[in-house]
């Protein structure tokens, strides 16, 4: 087995462990815990009054703009890492290139802020 595959396997097993842990514990708990759901218990909590409308109501996802911003920045962060490892070898050329790259990023951020993305109106 190649070390490469072993790494994946380790990660995969660990991730699976998280799921198994939850299931095992819930399984044990299911033996111990009472199960007696009544309508009142299963009602959605809304501060003690009957819920107004259903919980599945529309809401203005104010955060989607941040979601978009995040995708852009995160993808670009991916580019920074390979350069970061080899920053010394790439020398001044790499440095200047990265300066330009990051300044472009910052400019985009400044634009977004100026456009009022962070204002909550």
């Amino acid at each position: 087995m190649s070390p490469y595959f072993e790494s994946y396997l380790t990660v995969g097993t660990f991730a699976a462990l998280g799921a198994v842990l939850v299931m095992v514990m819930l399984g044990v708990a299911s033996v111990l815990r009472p199960t007696n759901p009544t309508a009142a218990k299963r009602a959605t909590y809304e501060c003690g009054v009957d819920p107004v409308g259903s919980g599945w109501s529309q809401t203005y996802v104010r955060y989607y703009v941040f979601g978009l911003l995040f995708v852009i920045f995160d993808v670009e962060a991916v580019f920074i890492f390979p350069w970061a490892i080899a920053a010394e070898e790439l020398g001044v050329f790499g440095l200047v290139a990265m300066f330009l790259f990051i300044l472009t990023l910052l400019e985009g951020l400044a634009y977004a802020i100026k456009k009022g993305v962070l204002r909550w109106e």
Partner: protein, 334 residues
Amino acid sequence: MDVIVDLFSNFWVALLGKILLVALMIPLVGMVIGFAEMKLSAKMQNRVGPYFAGGRWGWAQLIADGVKFFQKEDLIPADADRPVFKTAPIWVLVGTVALFVVIPFGPDLIFRDLSVGIFYALAISSISTIGVLMAGWSSANKYSLMGGLRAAGQLIAYELPLVLAVVGSVILAGTMSMTGIVEAQIEAGYPYIVVQFVGFGIFMVAALAELTRIPFDMPIAESELVMGYLTEYSGFRFLFFFLAEFANMFTLSAIAVTLFLGGYWLPGLSETQLAYLGPIILIAKVFVLVFAMIWFRWTFPRFREDQLQTLAWKWLIPLALANILVTATLKVVL
């Protein structure tokens, strides 16, 4: 002895040992940190804190709590999206467990030294976000929905400073392997916090936000959203979110220690000494950071959602980018 070593050189046996170790570690870490939180907050507030359970210092308080949660009814709201509601805690915990893979406890003591270790850690830590969002959405509860959306907004906003803050250390070390970064610090003779204090600061702030702890606990925000995305959870499912939070405090602190505080290394100790003392040193350092997190939790009020976003986008991200440029310039020029 040799038989055991041989046995553990077998990948499958080793893997089994590793997951058993982690399966033991996570509840243990959760309990220790949970107990520390109870006792420390009590000290800060001139209270006694847990006292009776287990006799001395009430050490068994969290075990008692755990047993209590075992016996709690597992309620699922009638309107809820059942499969999503039920699996949300799994996703939260999966991210946490998988994070343990890359924490170096000693020179050779690491579950798996991935070559892209830090990258992996940052990527896997955002899986919890999905769990939180699932929990918030599937509850069919307005508070949960708002809490879940807040969590999503907050976690993505602070993922970036978190990712960008570590680039400085990567530049200095020239590797993304967690062990590699520690070794680079040993070689350099100083922990990277000396030059990466900005990065460390940003990382810790972002880590607090990722953990949704005060001052960034808006997704839960007890006084506003009752319990945020956790409102509808009861019993053991509820407990998993806390277990994940405490375990994540440990893992994120461990990453910070590895990247900025020299990991398992203490100046003046030889390689062999480190092999034995490494885990102790690492855990000691981790608990210093965990203490700081608990301290913050009981000292600060919480931000407002828009203030949190402003802090991330206007201050932390530009600062982190500037930190990268300065670090790289110094590294290349010097």
